[in-house]
Symmetry: D2
Subunit: 357 residues, 4 copies
């Protein structure tokens, strides 16, 4: 049985490169030879043991690759095609998918709704920080990459861009809205870009790292707020003449940002939450107006599927948004442990690292 290199979760604190067998291809699957992938903040949660996965699992959910082999029931694709697949891989045929909720197509409950989470790669099945990746339900998930786009140009589509944009989409931003985005990591930056694409006119980006605030401006923020320099809630209320924002996007996953988002929301506004939380959350009575303020709190898991990927690549191809500056570092797969070391400690101004086998 042929072997490949893969970054696996060994135990809390250790992700290591190891040999694994190249997977068998089932009738609905596709095997990809990975050409580029990257590390996500969620992978660091896994590394630290904050988000539990099975020991020995291959990590990673942001694949760019070449189709190496197709399952016997797969039609409409051919070997040698360059493709991406979303971080979330809906089957298409689950009840969740057929009910307008494709991201919640859990691997263990394909034919029902029971479990949360259609996130499979590097979570419930082996992921893509490896030489090869098995993509389930290939017909729903393989999205051919246009020749004009490089691997790095589409590397943000599977997760960062899809998640960030969904913050703006689920917030149902309207032309002329005032929007705030809390935290300007890769997902927050994409949420800022998404807010602009949806027609917001005041887009306030909150962070404390000057390089991230600068990136936010170049991606669409009209105002930036350094939460170390000013009280962000007071500053946002001042910027909006006391009205508050129409939509507040949370892109970090902490009580502090969740609560601040609630505090700056106008009556009738929407808190669009993207963060992965690691504690219970508290909703303060006052900003919640005791339940009387027609508020919405909406959480969104990264939309996947080939049509979503096609659309995101069309945004890249249109030139309306340039995410290449997000790739600040490049490593070989052999050096992935060093890449985790750099990324996990947010050294050297890192935003995203391109990993190539």
């Amino acid at each position: 049985m042929a072997k490949m290199k893969a970054a696996i979760f060994a135990e809390p604190g250790r992700i290591v490169l190891d040999d694994k067998p190249i997977p068998e291809v089932g009738p609905l699957d596709a095997l990809l030879r990975i050409t580029t992938t990257t590390i996500c903040g969620t992978d660091v949660h896994i590394l630290k043991g904050e988000y539990p996965v099975a020991r020995g699992l291959t990590i990673g959910h942001e694949p760019v690759g070449i189709i190496e082999r197709l399952g016997r029931a797969v039609e409409g694709f051919h070997e040698g095609q360059r493709v991406i697949a979303g971080a979330i891989t809906p089957s298409g045929y689950s009840a969740a998918c057929l009910c307008g909720c494709a991201s919640q197509d859990g691997a263990g409950t394909k034919h029902g709704f029971k479990a949360a989470g259609g996130w499979k790669f590097g979570n419930t099945i082996d992921g893509c920080q490896a030489e090869y990746l098995l993509v389930p339900d290939a017909m729903a998930n393989l999205a051919p990459v246009p020749d004009a786009l490089t691997d790095e140009e589409v590397l943000m589509c599977p997760d960062i861009m899809s998640t960030g944009f969904s913050g703006a989409e689920s917030g149902e931003i309207r032309i002329g809205d005032a929007v705030v985005v809390f935290a300007q990591g890769p997902i927050g930056l994409c949420a800022t870009a998404g807010a602009k694409l949806r027609g917001a006119t005041m887009i306030i980006a909150v962070d404390s790292v000057p390089a991230r605030l600068a990136a936010a401006r170049s991606l669409g923020a009209s105002h930036t707020v350094d939460f170390n320099a000013v009280d962000p809630v007071a500053e946002i209320m001042r910027l909006t003449d006391g009205r508050g924002v129409d939509v507040a996007i949370e892109a970090l996953g902490t009580q502090a940002t969740f609560e601040a988002a609630l505090r700056v929301l106008r009556p009738g506004g929407t808190l669009s939450s993207l963060g992965v939380y690691s504690t219970d959350l508290s909703i303060p009575l006052g900003p919640f107006a005791a339940g009387l303020a027609d508020l919405k709190i909406v959480t969104t898991l990264c939309p996947g599927g080939k049509e979503r990927m096609r659309r995101l690549m069309s945004v890249i191809a249109s030139g309306r948004i340039d995410l290449k500056p997000l790739v600040t570092h490049r490593f070989k797969l052999d050096q992935i442990e060093a890449a985790y070391e750099l990324f996990g400690h947010q050294r050297d101004g890192v935003l995203k690292i391109a990993i190539t086998p």
Copy 2:
């Protein structure tokens, strides 16, 4: 200056009947002679000092009455018409109203969004537990009562029915949904009826009072759960074969019901919250799936305005729902202190009390 009887908030613990001047009529106002009104659970919060209002304020926000006088700028109505007005009285011309958020048209901030809450009667201006009521922005708020309907038949429209139905509407219930409604007080009962009107097929009503569970069945519940007899979360998961509900409506305003609603929600489901809370709320990490389950939490304040009232009265007139059984007791305005005594302690199976001056 002519005088009238009015139930005023004297101090925490005391709502008393007192004399007040009959109000002056401004150009946009209408003066109603109240023919029937009622007491709301929120009024009891005011009585107990749990929800703060000014001392001396007339309480009550559910008016049925006769137009006694119209402001000089009011067109389209005539004195002597029998009308209702919603508990929430949008002006129509505020920024909130013109932005699709009419319930958040705060009296003090008509031309902006700053403050929450378009609830004015018995909150920021004098209410309707009195012989006369001044209705602001009369052209937006007076809704003529069809001759075929009695005062008591339309008495639930201004608040209970509008709020309860909005729980089903904001939850965006679809034909075939499974829905749970936590608490079967007057608002919860109307939410149960609203869930049926929107096409839910499994409607689970939760309470512990047998008479309320029986009322829930007659208004549309397909299943009832007595939370004193069984663990409601476990029972609801069992009834839905482990899938959870599509929409959970919270109609009480406590941490326990809010949290239970979250726990029984399927991934991608909606928690539609109607309760008036009196403490901070906690969102437990697990049922919230760390923010990854595509959940929505939506709060709704009772929709008002004359068109909403017209629609609700058309539902009554159609015979599709009969809310008359909710009026379990009748008192004269002179006896309102006794009515508060009964209602505040939930004695004698009381649901709603019709008060007539």
Copy 3:
């Protein structure tokens, strides 16, 4: 190769019972042994040559049956299960499906949008008026029938009920709406029932056959209009006090009903069109208000997929709607030519015919 009986389109004017091979089962397919099916008005269009299909094609798109064999890639079902499949069979993995438009998943263009129509059974592939039916993309389309429901009770789910309800759903009927449904054939009757399930309070059913108007009343119509006795447009405007209806559902497919629907619509209203038209349509300038009236015209093709079927069966199981009276006649598959003769000429008060092999 084993043979089966099947009703095939021989030429315009002739649908005949003939022998055909029992189909081979591909990896994603399921073979059903049909236990009950029925004839649709669309089948009569095919018979008359008004809607073109290939000669030799097996007709029929409303199957109830038993799983006889499953493709090798199909999981989550087992042989011997009693199931239905929708008239429209989305693959789940097409771009159309993944873009929220599952009904438009055309057989020849699974991976793109080009052609209209995800209707395959009895249109682009063999249908179910036969002893056996091959269901493509079985994991997306097989819906197990609850034991408590008979074949006849679920026979309307695959097309009539799904299409009729979708008229109310696409019209986005709100609680308190006034709705008219033009034509009370099986689909119009289900649209009437759907309007009631969505909370309309005035539901006007238009037809000229007394038995159909009576059926409409029992399924939810609050008013009926016999278009032979009165001018339906004038009568509907009278019933709505000159305001017109919020939603007009067209369930026949003619210029006359389409135009009447437009004429009775209030400004801002929605014409929800279900009919299959056979001529160009004309939009008269006046009722269209020269394009200035914020009108919507929405067409909907029968939603399919297993989750839709599950939901419709849950409506039947809930007892909220009883469609059994729609089955007015019963025939054996051997007598299907006689059944077409009866149904095609609308003899003997026929609504739907149950066909059993």
Copy 4:
């Protein structure tokens, strides 16, 4: 009684400048001293007698001015403020307004829905091509102009920009959509800009005038099609690889553009119609797929009201769109007959003319 200059409709073919009394101010009104206004294509329809208005009516519905006097019931504004009002002037308190359909608040039917059209200025009441304008329901309609913006910068907000943007909004354009806009007059150009603001990535602008196609490119079109040089339907299908567009915006009001929009629409797509038509329309059976293609046809009348105006001015202030190039000519009110001569014949590359009293 003081007099003012006003451009009135004298008879088909003649709009003339004449003296009229300065209007009386009712309790809900505001009197504006007009500082800048403009001529709309609809005014040319009136001039030609194609759209009927009363003889003697003052024309014009795009006002910028200074508050000269306020009605006694008007609060929240002060004399001397520079404001705009939308072409459509919702009252705020009509049933239409309170039902989410503010544009359909007809002057003659404020308390019902009967008549279409909330367009009053220069249609049912005197308009703004005059020295003074009476604004009804002032509290709902006066929108203060930020000091940083000039009259000409906000001149497009009352109609052109609001209408054009609404084409993109009603089409519910999503990030990544392919959109076509038929006709690149002032409204079509704003629809093109609106499509970009909503996140479309392929935006195809159709016209035949090179200057307009160039303007379309600068406002957001990714592709332009000269319908004199190529068959626009074939070209759009080619540009979209045969898939058709997600949304087609009609911005002219002719059968040819309406039909072409239908032909290039993908199954499940939306035709968003802005044009004012002057003939019946024909829907061809094939592109309509006999009613089976899940198509939507949506018409939208220019949204008005002060909050809409505030939002549009915030878009201008944000610098995301520059409509100043649309003002190609400037005339004094005294010369308005010459302005109509130029504009009516589309001479000298005219797009919009600023008129100043």
